[in-house]
Symmetry: C3
Amino acid sequence: MASPLSASTLQPLVAQLNADYARALDDDRLEDWPAFFAEACLYVITSADNHQRGLPAGVMYADGKGMLHDRVAALRQANVYERQTYRHLVGLPAILGDEDGHVRAETPFLVVRIMRDGRMDLFATGRYVDVLADEDGALRLRERLVVCDSSRFDTLLAIPL
Amino acid sequence: MASPLSASTLQPLVAQLNADYARALDDDRLEDWPAFFAEACLYVITSADNHQRGLPAGVMYADGKGMLHDRVAALRQANVYERQTYRHLVGLPAILGDEDGHVRAETPFLVVRIMRDGRMDLFATGRYVDVLADEDGALRLRERLVVCDSSRFDTLLAIPL
Amino acid sequence: MASPLSASTLQPLVAQLNADYARALDDDRLEDWPAFFAEACLYVITSADNHQRGLPAGVMYADGKGMLHDRVAALRQANVYERQTYRHLVGLPAILGDEDGHVRAETPFLVVRIMRDGRMDLFATGRYVDVLADEDGALRLRERLVVCDSSRFDTLLAIPL
């Protein structure tokens, strides 16, 4: 960002980004998902345990927007995404810092999975650990670490969170 | 609204309406529920499947504020509402448009049901698909489609969501 | 507060306090928890049933910041807190009043518990019934009644919520 923004100005922007991000995923508009990221970006799904110990992410790792597109294409081919739907509830972001145009933020989330037969379960909870920056006039994710509270991962967790 | 409001101005207003709406339901102040709607209004509970296929709502349909009052009276007589309580968690609204004083918004929700013996379960998740307008100086619901993610409806789902 | 603040000014401040509060607990930074309270404070965990009937709180009662610190020390000694983690999702606060520098607010919450083996369950839902005031230039809790919807309390509920 050209001019530094205060935390109170940034918070509604980050909240809005998160709301739009969750809506794209829950609407099954997977193809819109990479657009929330900067061209050079890092997207990782990991567990709180792995994150705390500094271990590499076991679940999903994408380095650059191209890999996000690849992931979407793979999911569409595998067709695994169709069998159930998801509902994200995203909490209020905490703005942790804002340096050199890079905003650090942390936001809690909860995802419910809805099976085709109507059953619902708690699929994941955790926090987004983000670095955001302005790109082409919009706030985009430079880094999103999806730190899941549980380390019991469903094989289907290879969907974007 | 006499003067068009921007999305960033509208969002906190819609968020506040949703918070008050959820609080009225969770406090069992059902009689306050119709006041969130405009005189001429549409209230529908449906499933994502039905909504996507354009099928009519199977669960609840109210056309006009009078029918909302009727529904509350019926629930009070049937006394079904007393057996359990509910807790709504409502996400951040996405403001989708604002034309001719009509605001279109979409907001995710999650409802937990608490049985009399203390057990809790995920009762419903979904999104509010809303049309809002100013009436008598306050933002009110002209249309609220409650689109539930699951189509497995409990018979008790005839309660307002 | 020296000058009265409007509800729309207060709401983001109370929301921020709640987000930071939840984050401290979920990060297991229990030692930071008392700092959200005023020196003279009341912290109570109770059930909706007890609260409605005016019965005393059965679960946790702390009168003054010293008792909050004692509670944290006891939890660390008992080491019970380590066995599982928690994730709070906090809704939008309703500002109910603002008199003589005391703000009354109510905020819904949901807590998920994550066991060491990865299982997740709905641990608690309810509402924070708060009185807040300015102390040393920051908004702090004078009173926080944690009114849980369910009265089926786990013995481990003696953790801060």
